[in-house]
């Protein structure tokens, strides 16, 4: 049987896809800001030599990296609201589940970036009388951030891909909208192909950016210009 492709029939529903894309972008933006802010905080705590900061941060990182992100989403959606006795919209549960998971990963990126800077830099700065925060801001971070960027670009790709998991708890993002449409007009092939292509178009620029950054970093002998 030759399959009759009917993309035209599906594409008339473009506003439906667009609504999904907007929610996907909204969720990705939330997750990204969480990952950056949380990653810096938890990463700094993890880097600290004081146990009172270091241990909770390590526990947080290990806990969120060693459980599947979908389990975290499901837990925040079904279990957490019962525990704290509040209503939890799917969007918030997804943002918490994926977001905290991403915080754990970006914290490790942040810490690794800081640790990649030679101790000599710290010693030299301390020798000329600079304080911890000043050393961090003026000497360490400007160098470390450049080294973190490729890993963080990869993290962004993972975050974007993870937004699709929110469909499992009925958040109206792109995949969920596609599912709705596929069930209504019974054109799963066209619908899911469009969904896949849209995701690829959204994500691939980030991949190109990360390839370019990695190439730039390597061609400078590990010393970014």
């Amino acid at each position: 049987m030759e399959y009759q492709w009917q993309f035209g029939e599906v594409l008339v529903y473009w506003p439906h896809f667009l609504r999904g894309i907007l929610v996907t972008l909204e969720l990705a933006a939330c997750l990204l800001s969480m990952a950056i802010v949380g990653g810096v905080i938890v990463g700094s705590a993890r880097h600290s030599r004081k146990r009172i900061y270091n241990w909770p941060a390590s526990a947080f990182i290990e806990m969120f990296r060693n459980t599947p992100v979908l389990v975290q989403i499901i837990w925040f959606y079904y279990a957490f609201p019962v525990l704290i006795d509040v209503q939890m919209p799917g969007f918030v549960a997804a943002a918490l589940g994926i977001g905290l998971n991403s915080v754990a990963y970006s914290a490790e990126i942040f810490r690794a970036g800081i640790q990649s800077i030679e101790l000599g830099q710290w010693e030299a700065a301390r020798a000329i009388g600079m304080q911890y925060m000043a050393i961090m801001r003026r000497i360490i971070l400007p160098q470390a951030i450049k080294r973190m960027i490729p890993a963080f670009a990869n993290r962004m790709i993972e975050i974007f891909k993870a937004t699709s998991l929110a469909s499992a708890i009925a958040v109206g993002e792109l995949l969920f909208r596609g599912e709705e449409l596929a069930n209504t007009i019974y054109r799963p092939m066209e619908v899911y192909t469009i969904v896949a292509i849209v995701f690829f178009v959204l994500i691939y620029p980030l991949a190109l950016l990360s390839y370019w950054l990695e190439w730039k970093l390597n061609s400078n002998n590990g010393r970014p210009a």
Partner: protein, 222 residues
């Protein structure tokens, strides 16, 4: 907090969760085996001398890596059967999807490992009259495998975590069974917390084993 914790119900239904965990192990191991095989194929095609093979392959690899697994799973499970006029069960659809996506990642790991070996190793081998296949087996791969191992284990870890997405297509893995159980008992906090804790213990143990393998491998090679 409205109700008190009660874990007894969870433990009296432990068999059902164990059944789910076996489901998780099944889909993970099948996907790992086929994923690694697909990875070899992807890497070989991607490194082909012929551009007509190498370029489309790298396009496919990029597409598989840069789209969400769940989208691919829906495509294989809901869309592909309509086009091919066949029936696919959730396990088969999952195994195909996981093998292909992870195969694309594995393929890049293999390629990266092989291409990281200095070109002079090839030249040296060729100079003493070794054939390409001999050279690959005796000179390049033994060195490359060492570099491939850490990303390979890392990706396998991601694969196993990713199998929870099988719950979305109602395959009886650990997550799916726990969602069914939590709905049946109306005890989401206890059931889901237990299962999350179980995943934590299982995956932490697994990451320790992986670190141990890596360590042993390094020690043996050094």
């Amino acid at each position: 907090m409205g109700q008190s914790w009660d874990f007894r119900l969870v433990f009296s239904n432990f068999d059902f969760l164990v059944e789910g965990f076996i489901g998780t192990l099944k889909i993970s191991s099948v996907s790992l085996v086929f994923g690694i095989m697909a990875g070899f194929v992807f890497a070989a095609l991607r490194m082909s001398k012929y551009k007509v093979i190498a370029i489309p392959t790298s396009g496919i690899i990029e597409f598989l890596r840069m789209t969400p697994l769940l989208v691919q799973l829906f495509w294989v499970y809901f869309a592909l059967p309509v086009v091919l006029g066949i029936k696919l069960d959730a396990f088969t659809a999952g195994a195909i999807t996981f093998s292909l996506q992870n195969g694309a990642f594995f393929g890049e790991v293999f390629r990266g490992g092989i291409q990281s070996i200095d070109i002079s190793q090839w030249e040296g081998g060729r100079a003493i009259g070794m054939r390409r296949s001999q050279l690959m087996r005796r000179v390049i791969l033994p060195q490359a495998i060492r570099r491939m191992l850490p990303p390979l284990l890392e990706r396998s870890f991601e694969l196993i975590k990713g199998t929870t997405q099988m719950a979305v297509v109602a395959y009886g893995d650990l997550l799916y069974n726990s969602m069914i159980l939590s709905a049946r008992l109306y005890r989401p906090v206890e059931v889901l917390t237990t299962v999350a804790a179980f995943y934590l213990v299982f995956l932490t143990a697994l990451s320790f084993i992986m670190r141990y393998i890596e360590h042993r491998f390094d020690a043996r090679q050094a």
